[in-house]
Structure formats: structure tokens, C-alpha cells
């Protein structure tokens, strides 16, 4: 960004000479403009001292002209210029040697000029602060509550008697509760500095439920002693009120910390459920140990990557396309595994385990050869990024929130499929009594293939979700395989509800342990707990009952 060179003495002289005539010329023009106030105020800017500029800014805000915001913003950004030839004010965009000008009043482009033809309207730091407050005051009347809230926050950063008055008057007409709360909190915070003890006490009481970290720090400072042993607040009654307020705030904070841990735990648990729910079908319902389950998830994640490569301009919707695509890819490979290998090994679970492990090695290496041994970048769409700010101490990232919703939806869909459709009926019939089902005309071989394909396809969908949470690489599956089996076994084999409950329970336990033990140790504890739990209840939390429970 090139800046206009400091005007030489000569150009200053030219300015001084030109001012009188230019003013006269403009006087005629302002009559015609629909906002004469702003135009005349602008005209005074080039000659004003910093102190004059402050006054001018204040008066510009009072005009309530929507163009003022643009002008003030430009001034703050050091891009408000005056043209030497006619003393008109322009907003300029510097580009290499030239500056592209836009008329500040009409908003029309006025061509590009060289840096010598215009000069910058200078601001200093003091003025910048004034400008920010002025912009905020201006935004205070914006119809959008979000803009107003941001404006209030900006004003609270540098509060003086004048802006306090503005905020107080705004409070009278403000309807949005969040903005009202913010204004009240800010005013109360500034009242804490008041010399009047009654005002301070009222402010402390008013702040006693606020979760704002500033409030917490101020109240702690008031209730405690500084390094010299002097109390932050001289009046013992106010100190007691501050302490009482702190206790209330701490109770809220603890409550929200527990809420946050629970939500994060459920979210972590949803990942557990996601990685295990496909297995709950192949292992739980069919009794097949599919060690390639992790690799089917990996394929789902890679499908997401490929879908994003194919539609680089629609990253936002790529995830929605990837979900059915991953289901089809992993499901098709699952059917192939069932037809090619697993079918020949029914009733020999240990051999199935080994053969499918072989499949997992081949799939890993295939991915390594086709893509790369390195991790592939999968882009997170904008709507998954960011977080939902519920209050000052509780924020939930959107990906955690969506993963919970997504898992519940998937779980319900699967439950419906198994309980309410013909395929589900066949699947349950075959898993309960293969011979009888066959005798009743169920095509068991076909059902086996479809069930295995279903479980594999679900693994692919889980892979799409995992691609948003972790690195997409050839080892993605391996890192989840032990977890997914543990979740299924913990919940009770052959029981979708068990998987749902056990996954979420493990997630919450994991998150509860993490602050004390660290992530890795928490995981080890959970594994050891599971190993011991299986000794106690070898059939899991919700064991299958009845004649087929043996296994």
C-alpha cells in the first residue's frame, strides 16, 4: 500500500491559496445535495486540526446519515483522501503507483490518480479510538441485533462519560435481551469504579450472576487483597457482596463445566457409536468377526476425499454427496468380502478373523499405492467449522454438535431398518435360527450378503464422519479397530441399543477421566476397565436372552 508523500511546503501553500475559492465553489454544490450537513462537515475535514476532527466526527455521527459509517471506516483505515485539484473528499484504494478514488458522498467511482494528486486525511491514535467509538455509536442504531451487540462490546472497551450516556439512553429503547444484558453488564462494570459506595454495591449485586470473565476478575480483585495486603474494595459490606457474588458465579461455572464435559463426552461417545455400529451388525447380528471393519471406514473417509476432488467448487455439499457414495463403496466391498471369503468360513469365527485381517492388510496397501502413504487433506466445509457460543463459559464446536445429531439419526435409521422392514425381518430371522429361516423360504445366502454389505456400508458412512475429525491416511482404520470391538462387546453382542449406550458411556467416562489422567492414560484406564468388565459380565451390558444367547 503506497501512501501519499508528506506534502511539501509548496503544496501546503497551494492548498492555503486554493481553500478560499474551493469553499466558495462548494457552497453552491451543497445546496443541491440532499444531506447538506454531511457535505459541509466533510468539507471542513482537510483543514481541521486533530482536535477539530474529533468535533467533526461527533457531529457527523449526529447526522445519522448512513454514509457516515463508510467515511469513518475509511478514515480509520487510512484511506480517506482529499483531492488537491478541487479539495473534494474521496475514499481511495491504493494500488501500486495509483489510487482508485470513490466519491465519499455519492459513492461513484472517480477514476484513478497518482499519489501526488491527493493527500491523506491524517489520524492519530487518539483519533482512532474516537473513530472506533463513533462507529460503534453509529452501529448502535443498526436494525441487526448482532451488529448492535458488537457495537456495544466495542464501546465497552473504552468507556467514558459520553459513551456511558449513549449506552444508558440506548438501554431505554433496546428490545433485544442479549444486547440489553451486555449493556447492563458493561455499565455495571464501569459503576464498580464509582466513588459512590451505594452505586458500587448495586453494581456488584447486579453482576452477581454474570459469567463474563471480566466480571469474575474484577470481583475477585475487589474481594481479595493485592500484593501489598490492601483490599481491592475498602467497604466491607461491598466486599462481602462481591464474595457472595463470586460464589454464585463459581457455582454457575462449575455447572457449565459439567455440562460441557458431558456434551464433549457424548460427542466422543458418538464417535465410539459410529465406529462400532456397523460392527454391531456384522459381528453382533451375524456373528462374523470382521477385522477389515476399520479399513471399510478408511475407504469411507477416502471416498469423501475423492468426492471433494471431483467437486472442488461445492465443498459445502460434498459431505452430503459423500455419505451415500461412501455407503455404496464400502457396502460393495463388504458384499465382495462376504461372497468371496466370509461365506466359506461360517461357523469358524477364528478363521474368519484371520482371513478378514488379511483383507484389511490388502486394503491398506491398496490405498497406499493408489493415493499415497501420506495423509490426504479433507476440507471441512464452513458450516461444520466454528462453534456455538451459548454463553461466556460454554461453547460447543459445530462438528461436535453435528456428530451427535448425525449418530442419533444413523442409529434411528438403522433401528427402523432392522425392526420395520422386510430386510430387517429376514436379517433377524436368519440370525436367530438359520435353518428355520431357510425352511420358511428366506434366501439366507442373499440375506447374509446384504447384511454384511449393510454393516460395511455403515462403516463407510462412519468414515465420512471420521474424515472431519481425524487424519485421513492408510492407518485410519487400524487406530479404531480395538475401540470398535470393545464398544460392541461392552454393549452386548447382537444389541444395537447396547452399542449406543456403551459407546456414549465410554465417551463420557473417557472425558471425565481426561482432566485427571491425560488423554492416553484415560484411554488405558478405559481399556483395563473393559477387560475387567468382560470378566464380570462376559456377555456385555445388555446380554442377549433366550435360546440363542449361547455363543
Amino acid at each position: 500500500m503506497t501512501r501519499t508523500p508528506i506534502p511539501t511546503v509548496l503544496t501546503i501553500l497551494v492548498f492555503l491559496v486554493g481553500v478560499g475559492s474551493a469553499r466558495a465553489a462548494r457552497a453552491g454544490g451543497t445546496e443541491a445535495a440532499d444531506k447538506p450537513g454531511l457535505a459541509s462537515l466533510l468539507a471542513q475535514l482537510p483543514d481541521a486540526s486533530y482536535a477539530d476532527k474529533r468535533v467533526l466526527i461527533g457531529r457527523m455521527v449526529q447526522t445519522q446519515d448512513p454514509k457516515v459509517r463508510v467515511v469513518l471506516r475509511a478514515m480509520l483505515d487510512d484511506s480517506l483522501y482529499v483531492r488537491a485539484s478541487d479539495q473534494r473528499i474521496f475514499i481511495g484504494e491504493a494500488d501500486q503507483e495509483t489510487i482508485h478514488l470513490t466519491d465519499a458522498l455519492s459513492g461513484q467511482a472517480a477514476g484513478a490518480v497518482s499519489g501526488d494528486a491527493v493527500s491523506l486525511i491524517g489520524v492519530n491514535n487518539q483519533l482512532r479510538k474516537t473513530l472506533r467509538v463513533a462507529l460503534a455509536q453509529f452501529d448502535l442504531n443498526n436494525p441487526d441485533a448482532g451488529v448492535r451487540l458488537a457495537a456495544v462490546k466495542e464501546m465497552l472497551r473504552a468507556l467514558n462519560a459520553e459513551s456511558q450516556a449513549v449506552l444508558r439512553s440506548r438501554l431505554g429503547m433496546e428490545h433485544d435481551s442479549a444486547v440489553r444484558r451486555q449493556i447492563k453488564e458493561g455499565l455495571a462494570l464501569s459503576d464498580l469504579d464509582s466513588s459512590d459506595a451505594a452505586i458500587r454495591l448495586a453494581a456488584v449485586v447486579a453482576l452477581s450472576r454474570s459469567l463474563n470473565p471480566d466480571v469474575y476478575n474484577r470481583l475477585s480483585a475487589m474481594a481479595g487483597r493485592d500484593s501489598d495486603g490492601v483490599y481491592g474494595e475498602a467497604d466491607p459490606a461491598i466486599r462481602a457482596a462481591a464474595q457472595a457474588g463470586l460464589r454464585v458465579i463459581e457455582r454457575y461455572r462449575r455447572f457449565y463445566a459439567v455440562v460441557q464435559t458431558m456434551i464433549y463426552g457424548v460427542s466422543e461417545g458418538s464417535v465410539f457409536v459410529l465406529i462400532a455400529i456397523g460392527l454391531a451388525i456384522t459381528f453382533g447380528v451375524m456373528g462374523v468377526i470382521n477385522m477389515a471393519h476399520g479399513e471399510l471406514m478408511m475407504l469411507g473417509a477416502y471416498t469423501t476425499y475423492v468426492v471433494q476432488l471431483l467437486m472442488p467448487n461445492h465443498i459445502g455439499s460434498s459431505i452430503l454427496v459423500a455419505i451415500p457414495a461412501a455407503f455404496l463403496v464400502s457396502g460393495a466391498i463388504g458384499v465382495a468380502i462376504e461372497r468371496g471369503i466370509v461365506r466359506h468360513l461360517y461357523g469358524r469365527p477364528l478363521e474368519t478373523l484371520l482371513a478378514t485381517f488379511g483383507v484389511s492388510l490388502i486394503l491398506q496397501q491398496a490405498v497406499r499405492d493408489i493415493f499415497s502413504p501420506n495423509n490426504r487433506p479433507v476440507i471441512t466445509p464452513d458450516w461444520l467449522a466454528g462453534s456455538l457460543q451459548i454463553n461466556d463459559v460454554l461453547a460447543i464446536t459445530y462438528n461436535r454438535l453435528y456428530i451427535i445429531i448425525f449418530t442419533i439419526a444413523l442409529f434411528l435409521a438403522l433401528l427402523t431398518l432392522l425392526k420395520r422392514t422386510r430386510l430387517g425381518l429376514d436379517v433377524r430371522a436368519v440370525s436367530q435360527n438359520r435353518e428355520m429361516a431357510k425352511a420358511m423360504g428366506v434366501r439366507t445366502a442373499w440375506v447374509d450378503a446384504l447384511t454384511f454389505g449393510l454393516g460395511s456400508g455403515i462403516a463407510g458412512i462412519a468414515g465420512v464422519a471420521l474424515s472431519q475429525l481425524t487424519n485421513v491416511g492408510p492407518n485410519l482404520g487400524q487406530s479404531y479397530i480395538v475401540d470398535s470391538f470393545m464398544v460392541v462387546v461392552f454393549g452386548g453382542v447382537g444389541n444395537l441399543w447396547g452399542t449406543e449406550v456403551s459407546g456414549n458411556a465410554l465417551g463420557v467416562v473417557n472425558k471425565l477421566l481426561e482432566p485427571y489422567a491425560g488423554a492416553v492414560l484415560a484411554k488405558i484406564f478405559v481399556l483395563v476397565f473393559l477387560i475387567l468388565f468382560i470378566q464380570w459380565k462376559p456377555r456385555g451390558l445388555f446380554p442377549q436372552k433366550g435360546r440363542n444367547a449361547g455363543g
Binding site: I362, I524, I531, G551
Partner: protein, 376 residues
Amino acid sequence: MPVGEGAVTDIAPVRVADRGGRRLLLVLAVVAVLVPVLNVLPAEGSFLHVSSYSMTLIAKYMSYGMLALAVDLIWGYCGILSLGHGAFFALGGYAMGMYLMRQIGARGVYGNPLLPDFMVFLNWKELPWFWHGFESFPYTLAMVILVPAMLALVFGFLAFRSRVSGVYLSIITQALTYALMLAFFRNDMGFGGNNGFTDFKDILGFNLQATGTRVALFVCTTLALGSSYRLCRYVITSRAGRVIVAIRDAESRARFLGYQVEYYKLWVFVLSAIIAGIAGALYVPQIGIINPSEFSPVNSIEIVIWVAIGGRGTLYGAVVGAFLVNLAKTYLTGAFPSFWLYGLGGLFIVVTLFLPYGVVGVIGQWRRARLEGSTL
């Protein structure tokens, strides 16, 4: 669909005449003598010379052979598929590694006479309690046996008492080794974190790089493999061994006949863990490194495939399988690096689908067919 018990019946019965085993022992005896002689006597570059690298490689295969033996003992004869046997191997290796680390003494990079380098690096001031005693070789030998044995005892006691069997047992053994891997990866555990132990110098005061030491370790490994084989063979031909096979074929029936099924299983499981631990202890000084990746669940599954490929339930077949697969691995990872996982994965599938008795079984069938042909 039956899961677990009763699924394992189509395995060759315990043969009375142990022709394969006798051949294995004969080969081992020849190897124990010939390889060191060919390593030491012929000049380097001579046609007959066996390089130190090859000798170490054979020693590595032999310790893997012991590990396969340990897995075959419980899987082939007792029907317990452990997917965590690598953990016992690694624990034995770590115990030996601790001794070797203490032997380095003040010769480490930081020159601390008491603390191994990684502890100095982590700013530790004193030796953790569990490192005391490892300066003594007899104590280390005791730990090589006791640590895997104790883990197997506690784990097996809990698991067998609550009758966890079949795939459930396989999955929790896998979880066990996975948990141990995560634990050993932590620096705070005091086992060197993800670097593990390496840069060993001496064993019993002898330089590990010296030819004499290498030959001695090689002979020890051969002897250990041979005696493990004899021991396993003794166990399975004993009366208790018959009960163990009975448990494999019909656990409930053995229980109804009044046998304490849990104790037989526990006993053979602990024995198997001890053999695996000793194999690990022999592996570490010769290979010169031990790190937490030895605990990885994939390693443990690979052991099972050695056994399956060699021929489950034959003991000598397990050793043959360990040799064949690792030989192929060494060759393929060198010649066609990306092909190895396809090869290994394909082996898993082909062997389980088409070779239920392994390589040994195929050779046996082929010979029987020829004998029948000649009598006609």
C-alpha cells in the same frame, strides 16, 4: 450360528510318532554348530562364509519360532486364540532391555553412571523403583520369566474363571496388548517412550558386537528353541496334555467329566507366556532394539498367521511357519516393498480358505497320497 466352542475339531490329533519334531531338532542341532562355524572360520567373501548379518537374521527367526511355538501350544492344543501374545514377548524383551541399559553405565551420551540417557533427558533425578535390581543378571532372568508369567496368571485367572472364551477372549487379549502399547508409548512410564531402548553395549561384561558374544547368543537361542520344543512336546503328550486337547475339542464335556478346566487352561496359558517372554529376551540383545511397537496388535496377529501357515497343532509346523513367513517378509520388503502387505494379506486369506492344516499338513497329505499309491 455357533460361535466359539466346538468350532475347533478338525485339527490333527496328537501324533504319537513325532517324526517332524525329530527332524526339526536335528536341523536345529546342525544349525547350532554349522552357522557359527561358517561365520567364524571361512574368510569373508568366501563362498561358505555366513555373515554376521545372516546369523543375526537366523537368530531372529528362531526367537520368532519360539514365539510361534508358544502360540501354537495354546491355540493349536487348547483352542485359546490369543491376539496379544506379542505383549508377553515384548515384556520379556523389555526386562532384558532394562538389564542392557543398566550395563551401559556411564558410557551413555550424557555419561550418567546410574540413569539411562532417556531419564537424564527427561530431567529425572533418580532411578524409578522398578528399575532397581536390573543391574543383576540373575534377577533379570527371573524377571524375564516372572513378569510375563504374572501378567498371564492374573489375566488368565480372571478370564478363564469367568469363562470368557472364543472370540471374546481373542478381543480382550488384543485390548490388553493395545493398552500396554499405549502405556509404553508414554514417556512418564519410565521405559523410554516411543524410542524404547537401544544402543546396548555389553551383556555380562562381553561386548555385544564381538563375534564370540554373537556366537554364544546364537547358540543359546538355538538351544532355547530346541528345549522349548521338547518342553511343549512333553506337555502335550503328558496326561495333562490329553486333558488340554480334550478341552479344545469339547470344553463342556471335559468340565462335566470333573476336570478343572480353568486350571488346565491357566497353566498352559502361563507356560506359553513364559516361552514368549524368553523368546523376547533372546531377541533384544541380538537385534539391539526394543520399542513399544512390539506391543502393536498387528504384530500379535502376525504371530497367529505364522502358526496357521506352518500348520496349527503340530508344534514343529509353527516353527516352520515362522521361518517361512519371515524369510518371505525379509526378501519381499527388500525386493518389492509395497508387495509385502499384499503378500501377507493374501497368505491370511489363502491359508484360512484352502490350507486349514498349513504347509506341514499339505506335505503330510501329499506323502500319504504317495504311500497309498505305492502300496496299491
